[in-house]
Each structure stands twice: as C-alpha cells, then as structure tokens.
Amino acid sequence: MKPKHGIPAVVIGLLLFTALIGSAAEKVWVTSEGASLKADRSSLSATVAELTRGTELVVTSCENRWCKVTTPSGKTGWIYQGRVSDAPPEINETEGEAGLGDMLGGLSESSIEADASDSARSIRGLSPEAAAYAKNTGKPEESQKALDQLLSLTIPANEIEQFLKQGKIGEYAQ
C-alpha cells in the first residue's frame, strides 16, 4: 500500500515545488492581438519578436507603462503594459459548443464558415440565416443592404496601428 500513497505525495510535492519556483518571478501573459516585443521602450524601436496572444512572459521591470520581459524562447525586450495581463487570456472560442446548424438543424454544412471567428477581421456579408429571417419578416431591402455593407467593411491591423500612431495613442505616445 505504501507505494500507492507515495506516488500522490510525490506528485503533490512536485506541484508545490513548481508553484513555488513559478511564483519567484512575476509572470504576465499577452492578452491583445498584434503585440510585439520591442528593443527599447518605444514603438519606434526595432521589433525583437511578434508575440501571439497567450504568450507567457517573465517581467524584469516596468517603467512608464512599458515592461521589460523575457519570452519563453529567451528573447528579451520591452512590451507596452496595455498589451499584457497578470492572468492568461481565454483563447478557445468555440471549443465543444453547439452551432446554429445543430440548433436549427441541417444548416451546418451549408452555412457555417470555418473562419467565422478568426482574427482576419473580414466578414463575408449577411449570413443565409439572417437573410432568411429578413425575408420571412419582411425587412426592407435597405436594411439588408446596410447590414451587408457594414459586415463587408475591412479593418486591417496595419490601419489600426497607423491610426494609433497618428493619434499618438498608447505605445505611440511621446
């Protein structure tokens, strides 16, 4: 019996040890899209690495809303404080959840777009279900066109960066 009790004890001990080691350094996680690691405390400095959302970083120090961090691969640089959080973000958007195709039945193959929730920031216009709703409830064509136009609007990430830069906002503040 002893070995059976010994295994959980070792596992618990290892977990506690890991937790203690982990708490010695402050950790943060990248929580926003399009974050990058900079060589210095400025958005104008060279980019050391592009960081994906959820990346764990070890913080060395923070100054004027910029934090000096190290990536899991050992790269060191600066990241704007607004880009990180002290808790990891939720990333799995659709895991294990039911789709409208399942709920309404029979539509999953015809209308569910595989990339509907990706970060490409483009939507291919009004969905067939919403169009069917508009038809059955007699919504004016003007409303459908307006929504279709809105959904087709594209907002590229580089335009957002340029927009923030022009406004001297956040990491582009001087």
Partner: protein
C-alpha cells in the same frame, strides 16, 4: 436466519459499493468534462455489452444534454443572432449615417480598443445610425450601434473609445446571450430539428429574437452587467492608451441632458441610474493614477465627427 439476513445485507451493501465505485469514476470525470467521460466509456465498452457501463452512459447522455444546453452557443450562432438583431436595430433606431469617413473612423476607434479586450479574436463592426436618441447597444457577435446624437454630444476620441469599449465589454462577456439563457430560450432552441424559418422552428427563433429585442432595446440588461461593461469600457480604453475618465465625462453629459432627452429606448431607460454609474466609475479611477497623461485626441475627433454637429443629422 438472522445471520443469513445479515450476510445478504452485507452482500447487498458490498454490491452497492461496487456499483457506486463503478459509476463514481465516470461521474467524477463528467464534472471535469462530460464529453471525455462519454468517449472513455465508448472506448471501454464499444458494443454496449456491459450493463453497468450502459447505465452510466445513459446517465451521462442525459446530464451531458443539460450541460450542453447551458453551455452556450458557438461564434457562428452568436453572430447570426447578432445580424438578425442588427436588422431590427436599423428598423428601430434608424439607418447608418451616410458618411464613409465617419463610419471608418468609428470602426478604427472601436477595433483599436476591442483588440485590448478579453475577446479580441472576433470581428467587430461599429455603425453610427441617424437617431435623436442618446443610445448605443451591442448585438451578440460584435455588431455595435451608436447613435448620431450620442456621438454628436461627445467632446473627444477618449469619450468615444470608452463608450465603444463599454459595448465591446457586453459582447466580450456575452451579456445578451446570458440574459436569454437565463430565460431558457436557448435550451428550447437546442432541441429544434430541421431548419425551416417558416415553420415552428422559425417561430421559436423569431420568439427568441423578440425577447432579445425587449432586453436590448426596452428593458435593458441586468444592472450588474452594465456595471461590468462600464469597468470593461474604462479598462479596454486605458489599455489602448485613452483616458478612461472619458466614460465619466459622457455619463456627466448624459446627466446634464437627461431632463430634456427622449427616454424610451435610450441609455437613460435601458441602463442603471446615472448617479449610481458615476459613483462606481469614479471609484474605478483609483486604478488609473496616470489617467491624465493618457490620450484624448480632441482635434481628430472634432474633424472626423463634424458632420454630426449639424442639427439636421441628429
């Protein structure tokens, strides 16, 4: 005889314990992840010959079904519900202001703050509608409306960023869906069979949309959800680099205009009382000691939204 009864009783207890232990494992796994528990049982007994495992599978199927209906919907479903509500929103509040520059500007501000929210990996779309009502609301999936009156009464980009962040907060926390989940509409929708918008299932869907309209356009969300969205609004705006007190300035502006404004379907009627919101937001400012150093971007806001300053557009 007594001993025999005792032996039978002991045997019965032991059998009960064995059955309990057989079922306890799968149920313990179910608590962590019901789908894995069912998969595990299918692997252990693929042909369904073991009666105990069959019983466990039946129980898990039932509980898993309940769990599934409460778990929510995927993004595609959410977006479709949002699109449907957006169609109703145009009917209720007005059509988009015909100014591509303004619409693009609002989408840039909105998407800039949205990527610093807790749900940046879905596409957000923002639309300014021609309306006299002080209002903004978000449809599930990320379609966000803001009225020309509300933007036209703002003073800078930080104020706009905070209001759009507030709405992004609602989408991020799936507040609207939570509201109808509590009302069990999605549980009913989960049992719908073949799609037919003209049949009973279509009626169920339209009924669900009707209830969502009541929540978003008339009754409003729970107070707690609004306070959560206020906090999110200030946080996302601050993370982006905007002055989070922009939300306080908007609420103060609304307070000044409340007595003369249209109440029905506005932020006045669908949101908690302004003094309560202001009090909570002012308390939250303690989190942002450097707020005065953050961007407000007054000039760009003024030039981008000048079309809304004309009385004819409001």
């Amino acid at each position: 005889m007594f001993k025999e009864k005792t032996r039978r009783s002991e045997a019965s207890i032991l059998e009960g314990r064995r059955t309990f232990l057989k079922l306890a494992g799968p149920f313990a796994i179910l608590l962590a992840c019901p789908a894995y528990a069912l998969d595990l049982l299918r692997i252990v007994d693929p042909e369904g010959k073991n009666k105990d495992i069959q019983k466990a599978r039946q129980a898990l199927d039932g509980i898993g079904s309940i769990a599934q209906s409460l778990k929510g919907v995927d993004y595609q479903t959410e977006r479709t519900i949002g699109e449907t509500l957006a169609l109703e929103g145009f009917q209720r509040y007005g059509m988009p202001v015909k100014d591509d520059g303004l619409q693009k500007y609002v989408n840039l501000v909105g998407n800039a703050v949205a990527r610093n929210g807790i749900r940046p990996d879905i596409p957000y779309r923002f639309v300014v509608v021609k309306s006299e009502i002080y209002n903004a609301f978000s449809c599930p999936g990320g379609i966000i409306f803001v009225s020309s009156r509300l933007i036209g009464s703002m003073q800078d980009e930080a104020e706009l960023a905070c209001v759009l962040s507030h709405e992004v907060g609602h989408v991020s926390h799936k507040h609207a869906l939570q509201s109808i989940r509590r009302a069990k509409f999605l549980e009913g929708a989960g049992k719908i069979g073949t799609l037919n918008m003209e049949g009973e299932r279509g009626e169920n869907y339209r009924a669900m949309i009707g209830d969502l309209q009541t929540v978003l356009f008339d009754k409003g969300l729970d107070k707690g959800m609004e306070y959560e969205a206020d906090a999110a609004g200030m946080d996302y705006a601050y993370r982006t680099g905007y002055d989070p007190s922009g939300l306080i300035r908007v609420l103060e502006m609304l307070e000044r205009n409340q007595s003369t404004a249209v109440q029905k379907g506005s932020w006045f009627s669908t949101h908690p009382p302004l003094p309560n919101r202001l009090e909570k937001c002012r308390q939250l400012m303690e989190r942002y000691p450097d707020a005065s150093e953050m961007a407000t971007v007054k000039d760009r806001f003024a030039s981008s939204c000048k079309v809304l300053k004309g009385a004819s557009l409001r």
